[in-house]
């Protein structure tokens, strides 16, 4: 009997605490993750276009001297600058750790793509999985960014 009274009091206290906390919090909406950023959205979309243009160019150059790394050095330099700019902006936003990690991974993938290209020209059958991986990354970053708009469909 005594045990059930203690249990009831514990439960009541817990509910009251939870209720009080929510009453305090209900004055403003709770935000666990950063807000949507249009600049990040546009920059990531533009970068996807740049990477896709690169893949199309390299595919069309297969077997010709144009496919060599030296002829595409500018692409890597520009893409690195873009990723750095997106990362700096992402770091300036509060509660944006997930997007920061995603941009870091994208930068690492670009470095690895560059290493692959330095070894040899990228063949069409190598480009296919690379294109899929980069597009999956871009889609993932943008999907989260759009979801941050809140109240809209995922």
């Amino acid at each position: 009997m005594k045990k059930s009274v203690v249990k009831y009091q514990y439960w009541r206290t817990l509910c009251s605490f939870f209720l009080c906390a929510l009453v305090v919090l209900s004055g403003c909406s709770i935000k666990l993750i950063s807000s949507y950023d249009e600049t990040t959205d546009k920059a990531v979309t533009a970068l996807q276009r740049t990477v896709e243009s690169f893949f199309i160019a390299v595919e069309s150059e297969e077997g010709s001297p144009g496919c060599e790394y030296q002829n595409h050095k500018k692409f890597y330099e520009e893409a690195k600058v873009e990723i750095s700019a997106i990362e700096v902006r992402a770091r300036a936003m509060p509660k944006n750790e997930i997007t920061i990690k995603q941009i870091e991974l994208l930068g690492d993938s670009l470095n690895k793509l560059e290493s692959l290209h330095k070894i040899s020209c990228l063949s069409k059958d190598q480009i296919e999985p690379l294109r899929r991986a980069f597009n999956s990354s871009f889609t993932a970053i943008l999907k989260l960014e759009f979801a941050k708009k809140r109240g809209e469909a995922l």
Binding site: F18, L19, I30, L32, Q126, P129, R132, S136, K143, A147
Partner: protein, 109 residues
């Protein structure tokens, strides 16, 4: 009208559960589609290696890029989950707001 703690807690829980059950299937569908795509890519790389079209160093770089893509997808799944929890908490807190405002008879919250 006075506030009933257990009734209010039930309503809050229902509001939160409603949001989570609505969001989860969408997140699950996305995760399933993306992991399938990544698995297909891994098979493509393995075939390239076995056919001798790429060497070990190239295969490793390809796998690392796929691994990065997989981690990026999983981070989005994590983020969508956090956003769903956030919406669930806000839905529960809206229930409190409505109940308190109704109980006191004016817009307190």
């Amino acid at each position: 009208m006075s506030l009933n703690v257990s009734e209010l807690a039930t309503k809050m829980l229902d509001a939160a559960k409603g949001v989570l059950s609505e969001k989860w299937p969408e997140i699950q569908d996305y995760a399933e589609t993306e992991t399938k795509k990544l698995a297909e890519s891994l098979v493509m790389i393995e075939k390239l290696k076995l056919a001798g079209r790429i060497n070990e160093e190239q295969a490793k770089l390809h796998f690392d890029i796929q691994k990065n893509a997989a981690r990026t997808v999983l981070l989005t799944v994590e983020g969508l989950g956090i956003l769903a929890v956030e919406q669930a908490l806000n839905a529960a807190s809206a229930v409190v707001k409505d109940a308190v405002n109704t109980a006191v008879g004016f817009h307190l919250l």
